[in-house]
């Protein structure tokens, strides 16, 4: 295909806006001190396991929700759909305030929990996981729902003729047919949870070993030891690029 000159210029500008900062980041990484800066892996480990847990929970709960939303069009589902997708466009600080107002010691639910058990969620690792689910699960719902909607009508008709129950249709046909979408949603949820910063800071705080995540550490090291901040950022960038690379096939399928 031949592209117009204007199209080419705009496309190059678009790519440059995104790629040049990333390349500059890599250029600034102090390679000589690369592994020295990674001596303390506490925050990285915490981020990896909390976001993995958040992604697994998001899939377990989000896929059934996506199925129900895809197969019903009543008033309730039309109301719930925009609400559960809202965190995708919500600023993280707003997510943080929302989570505190529910689960804080004075929150709608958190207050009773605190009065009965003496336990409150803020400043615990569970708060990090919940924040990750809150911002990550909407990606599972978004991608899986649109995929479930595209399930060929013939399959559904055949299922009805064969007296296959709705539940079997979901478990034995819809889920296997939507593997790409589920994988894409899960990995996007994982990446989003991993990159979470604002909501975590407000809701979970920052304590090494408990709630100080990778992104929180980068923010702190920028003022203390810039080299470490660059190394931590570069590793995260590498993971991000790897994810998109691994996802190229399922992403393409899920978008169709």
């Amino acid at each position: 295909m031949k592209f117009g000159i204007m199209t080419k210029i705009l496309a190059v500008a678009a790519a440059a806006i995104i790629i040049t900062p990333l390349v500059s980041l890599i250029a600034k990484v102090p390679w000589s001190n690369f592994f020295g800066s990674l001596s303390d892996l506490t925050a990285i480990k915490l981020s990896i396991w909390t976001s993995t847990l958040a992604a697994l929970i998001s899939l377990t709960l989000g896929v059934p929700l996506a199925w129900i939303l895809a197969k019903s069009s009543n008033r309730i589902s039309n109301l719930i759909r925009p609400l559960v997708l809202a965190p995708i466009v919500l600023p993280p600080t707003v997510a943080g305030i929302a989570l505190i107002s529910l689960m804080g010691r004075n929150g709608l639910l958190g207050k009773s929990i605190f009065e009965i058990t003496g336990w409150s969620m803020p400043f615990t690792t569970s708060a990090v996981v919940l924040a990750g689910i809150f911002v990550g699960m909407p990606f599972v719902v978004l991608i899986c729902e649109s995929n479930f909607r595209q399930l060929p009508k013939e399959i559904e008709d055949a299922a009805i003729i064969d007296r296959v129950s709705g539940n079997e249709l979901f478990q034995k046909i819809a889920i296997p047919q939507s593997r790409s979408a589920i994988a894409t949603g899960g990995i996007l949820a994982w990446a989003r949870a991993m990159g979470e910063f604002g909501a975590t800071l407000m809701f979970a705080g920052s304590l090494p070993g408990t709630t100080q995540t990778w992104t929180m550490l980068i923010y702190q090291e920028l003022d203390v030891n810039v080299d470490t901040a660059y190394v931590l950022s570069a590793v995260m960038l590498a993971i991000g690029v790897l994810i998109v690379f691994l996802l190229r096939k399922p992403l393409r399928e899920a978008m169709q």
Binding site: G104, N106, S206, M216, Y219, L222
Partner: protein, 227 residues
């Protein structure tokens, strides 16, 4: 397409209206100065119509990093000494608790189920807190190490913690809070330093204003000591 371009231009114009303001002074100030300096800025703007004071309140170390990276600050006020800074104000860290709290003295932090927070050791309010705590017999640990004084205060005001090590000025500014002093007042004290980074008419003028008798009186009424 035309509509989209028109819309984009409108948004661009509105969002950049700051740069069209007649004159502005950009002040980078420690987050513990948020309340009092917002008020001082308001007074200055009232006396000098057309001039705008633009603040960035953050942890002092964050602001210093940004200034080194070329952030356009006219005036910098840090909660800890920095190269080129001149002593300006004195403040002190205290243990802040809600009025009516069962926490009466610093060592009450050791009692079970008390949740308290302080700043991270990398920012001034955290390193000073550590120095002040070293003179006390506190064996419990904070539930979070906050990146700046104002976020520690916010969590106390939200009721998510029982106590927070914050500045005395923060406590004076909040009717519902009470201050418990550390034994070693010297160790708990911080000196703010100030520097004018750019010379221009309105930066000079604002610099004079915040060093004026009336501004210092106001800051003293908020709990700061002048240096």
């Amino acid at each position: 397409m035309k509509k989209i371009i028109a819309l984009a231009l409108t948004i661009a114009l509105f969002s950049s209206n700051i740069s069209f303001a007649a004159s502005k002074v950009t002040v980078f100030a420690a987050s513990s100065l948020t309340e009092s300096y917002t008020e001082l800025g308001r007074r200055f703007e009232k006396a000098h119509p057309g001039v705008r004071i633009i603040y960035s309140f953050q942890a002092s170390s964050t602001l210093l990093t940004q200034i080194k990276a070329g952030a356009p600050a006219d005036i910098f006020i840090s909660a800890e000494p920095f190269p080129g800074g001149r002593d300006y104000l004195v403040n002190r860290l205290v243990l802040a608790v809600p009025k009516g709290s069962f926490i009466k003295k610093i060592s009450d932090l050791n009692s079970k189920e008390v949740m308290w927070i302080q700043c991270a050791l990398e920012v001034p309010c955290g390193s000073v807190a550590q120095a002040a705590l070293s003179g006390e017999n506190v064996t419990s640990k904070p539930v979070s190490l906050e990146p700046k004084a104002s976020s520690a205060l916010a969590k106390l005001l939200a009721g998510e913690v029982d106590a927070a090590i914050v500045y005395r000025t923060d406590v004076l500014a909040n009717k519902n809070l009470r201050a418990i002093e550390f034994k070693n007042l010297q160790a708990a004290s911080t000196t703010y330093q100030i520097a004018q980074l750019k010379k221009n008419r309105w930066a000079n003028s604002f610099m004079n204003f915040i060093n004026s008798r009336s501004a210092i009186n106001y800051l003293q009424s908020k709990g700061f000591d002048s240096k």
